[in-house]
């Protein structure tokens, strides 16, 4: 009986070790017993464990590639002073952080922290030097029609007119189909990765509401004819048209040929 118990404990230990080894080396560390900590403690602990190696223990950033961040880990990352709650909320809520290397494009993924952890880290980062709060856009107040013309002017050059994304020199442009109102507003104000930021002097909060209203509307397009063909605009639609025309013309050729034979 006791031998069986020892065996079970050993096996469980081995299993845990295997799981620990299987975790990627850059995997995140959750605060053990996180629910018992205060928000400030939780934020500080999570930041120290997951963010400080690249962003520095006080969010001062690690500018040069050979510098060493917290814990002597060779890493690199931008300063977080003055980014406020807005940037960490966006990057963590969309799973864009953490990334493996500086310079890699942060992409939307399943978020690795829960809402409480994100709020704690965001508040902690905002403590480094103030900065903007998480925005609360009101897409219900904005007209998607005006939003479309603003989106065309400011966003569609990279994100395409229905927010399908694409490529620009140096970056993959993210698809906007899964972004919620807050994330869209945050991205406009931050300008993540290679995107420019749009301060209030460029896009007012009222205009931002319209843009958000349009992007949300574009996530459920009313496809006339039933098929969106990727929503990528005239190029795929043109290719489909050519395919249909090719079949039709081939049919006409066959018809003409068969008539001449008789």
């Amino acid at each position: 009986m006791r031998q069986a118990l020892v065996a079970i404990v050993l096996l469980a230990g081995l299993g845990a070790a295997t799981v620990a080894l299987a975790e990627p080396p850059s995997g995140i560390v959750h605060e053990p017993g996180g629910s018992e900590h205060s928000k400030a403690q939780l934020g500080a602990g999570l930041f120290a464990a997951n963010c400080a190696s690249c962003h520095g223990p006080l969010g001062e950033g690690v500018e040069r590639a050979n510098d060493r961040g917290a814990g002597g880990i060779a890493a690199q990352g931008p300063s977080l002073r003055g980014v406020g709650e807005l940037a960490p909320d966006f990057y963590l809520r969309t799973g864009r952080m953490p990334i493996a290397h500086a310079g890699e494009e942060p992409e939307r993924q399943r978020p690795l922290f829960n809402s409480r952890e994100i709020a704690a880290i965001s508040a902690y980062v905002a403590g480094f030097g103030g900065g903007p709060k998480v925005p609360h856009p009101h897409p219900d107040y904005g007209s998607p029609v005006e939003g479309m013309s603003l989106f065309t002017e400011h966003c569609a050059g990279c994100h395409q007119i229905v927010g399908e994304g694409g490529y620009v020199s140096g970056a993959k442009v993210p698809v906007l189909q899964h972004a919620n109102a807050t994330e869209i507003a945050e991205a406009v104000r931050i300008g993540p990765f290679l995107m420019p930021k749009f301060p209030k002097s460029q896009i007012s909060d009222a205009d931002l509401d319209k843009i958000v209203a349009y992007v949300l509307a574009s996530q459920h397009p009313d496809d006339r004819g039933g098929l969106g063909i990727g929503h990528l605009g005239p190029v795929p639609e043109g290719i489909v048209a050519w395919l249909v025309a090719a079949f039709a013309l081939t049919g006409v050729c066959v018809l003409i040929g068969s008539r001449l034979k008789t």
Partner: protein, 297 residues
Amino acid sequence: MKRRAELGIAFLLLGAAACAVMFLVVYALGWPHMTQYLGLCLGAALALLAAALILTSAKLFPADAEEVVEDYPPTEHPMDQHEADQVLSDAGGRFTRKRLLGGAATAAGAALGAALLAPAASFGPFLDTKSFYYSPWRRDRRLVDEDGEPLRAAEIETETFYTAYPENAYREELAAPLVVVRLEPGELEMPAGRKGWTPEGIVAYSKICTHAGCAIALYRTPRFGAAEPGPALVCPCHYSTFDPARGAEVTFGPAGRPLPQLPLLVDSKGDLRAAGEFSGPVGPAFWGVRTRRPSSS
């Protein structure tokens, strides 16, 4: 039967010619919604031409004509036949119809050819390129935004971009719009001869791409400059990429030369003004651009 067909063909060909002439008239008058009318005229001309060709093949060269294999019997009365030919040729009925057909075909061909060549006039002045060099920018002309408000140097932020127009000037001119960005003065590596063009690190370039004339509508701004690609002005049409910190030199894409730069100054009120004229001709290159290009770019 054949006679009626020939008249019909001539009629269709003349119709095609008339439509092609109409195309020329519409093009010359420059009507509103001109392209729709141009398309209509050209489409009708081609449709009538096609109808004429179909009628020709169906009526004048009937399919069963090839099956006539029997030779004419040898001439029995050469003199009589010669006389008959003479009479026929004098009567001339068939001869004029043939000429009518030929004339109609020539008219249709000439009119359609002229209609197809005429739009080349839209390429612009052929030899006189002086108007291509026109620019509304002069020293001390103020930069204003879309609403006509002056652009203040202190309000220009980094990591975003602004569109500016010349104050009190026609904005639809190719050389009117500018893209204005602020960079860290330490990042700037301007070409020789452009000292003092960039007060406080604010740079201004023509917003018109030097490749195909699209508007430079994209500004790439790295969030973390140490590890990400540097700032760039990008044209959304063909992704020509210009480095704003190095006199808008081309770093990627099909553009053949840098964006022309406008020297700036900040006046006593803090507004941005032009400090001179563009460093080169604006917009897509045209004949003579390279020779008249200033040596600095």
